[in-house]
Assembly symmetry: C2
Homo-oligomer: 185 residues x 2
């Protein structure tokens, strides 16, 4: 792994959710390269599983002006562990508490532009209560629904799941489901 030397680093934009850092760095060739990096909190994604079903959410997405199918997900708050964030998000968004959490792995959310990571958990032993959505979630007509695990490949094939962080989290889940993909072949 190459070590690039940073020549200059400056925050050029900051808002409540992320900031943009402009960095000048030394190229192998000796010249100066420039990168614009988006820095923001890491997030968690949860795959809630019960009786051969995964629980998904449908929600209206402001940026896309489109209703998406997603796994429960959310930003990790300052001082919070990924596991605590996963428990909080699942409870707030979906009203679900889980007896068991297991970490499946992590994602680099947007490698060319950001160092944001998504930590992915599977949650099992589910109990269902009332969601406590935040303002954005209330505005998004968030709706919980379940899909049989064996029907998920077909849902993906038909283009019904387009959120890359949901697809990536599902790929981590699928290769770990029942311990080994060999069980399924």
């Amino acid at each position: 792994m190459k070590k690039w030397d940073i020549v200059k680093s400056k925050v050029v934009h900051r808002n409540k959710y992320f900031c943009v850092v402009a960095e000048d760095f030394r190229l192998l060739s000796g010249g100066i390269g420039k990168y614009y990096i988006v820095r923001s909190a890491d997030f968690v994604a949860i795959v809630p599983v019960e009786d051969g079903y995964i629980y998904f959410e449908k929600m209206d997405r402001y940026v896309l002006r489109k209703r998406l199918i997603e796994l429960p997900m959310g930003g990790i708050e300052e001082g919070e562990t990924p596991l605590a964030a996963a428990k909080r998000e699942l409870k707030e968004e979906a009203g679900i508490t889980a007896e068991r959490y297991r970490k499946l792995g992590y994602l680099d959310a947007s490698k060319g532009r950001s160092d944001q990571k998504g930590i992915v958990f599977v949650a099992e032993g589910l109990s269902f209560g009332k969601p406590q959505p935040d303002l954005i979630e209330s505005e998004s007509n968030l709706e919980l629904f379940k899909v049989k695990i064996s029907d998920i490949p077909d849902l993906i094939r038909r283009g019904k799941i387009t959120d890359s962080h949901t697809l990536a989290s599902l790929s981590l889940f699928m290769v770990n489901y029942k311990g080994s993909p060999k069980d399924k072949s």
Copy 2:
């Protein structure tokens, strides 16, 4: 799908690669919400397949200071079709030309923050030549290698592929591979 009315929209940061737009919009409750949207070009991802192998790249990622395993990917240039971008990127990055391209679907790259889309192609009938990497690709020690399709689940399970756009593209490929996942079970 809810229609949010935009009250105000303003570019608050702009660089060579993306811009940040601050938008005030009307909440259901009547108040004003705020969104910061990152706008940038869409990209293509290519799954190059030959004889039961997929061709991947390893490259040093500046933002992550980490060497990642990725599918060939790159931004769509102005006036370029996704297919033309896929052909150009595969040739430039990997030195590969393909006889056949098939669109697998698309990804929403970062639904909460950006409307960027990734269009995913499978490329078959491959010929191998010399890559013509751009500056960033040269700096990244880009290296082409192949993985047997049946070994990919294990690679994912061992945490070797963390790029969410690569994982999401692979999930599109896997559910379409040989027409149906039923072929594999």
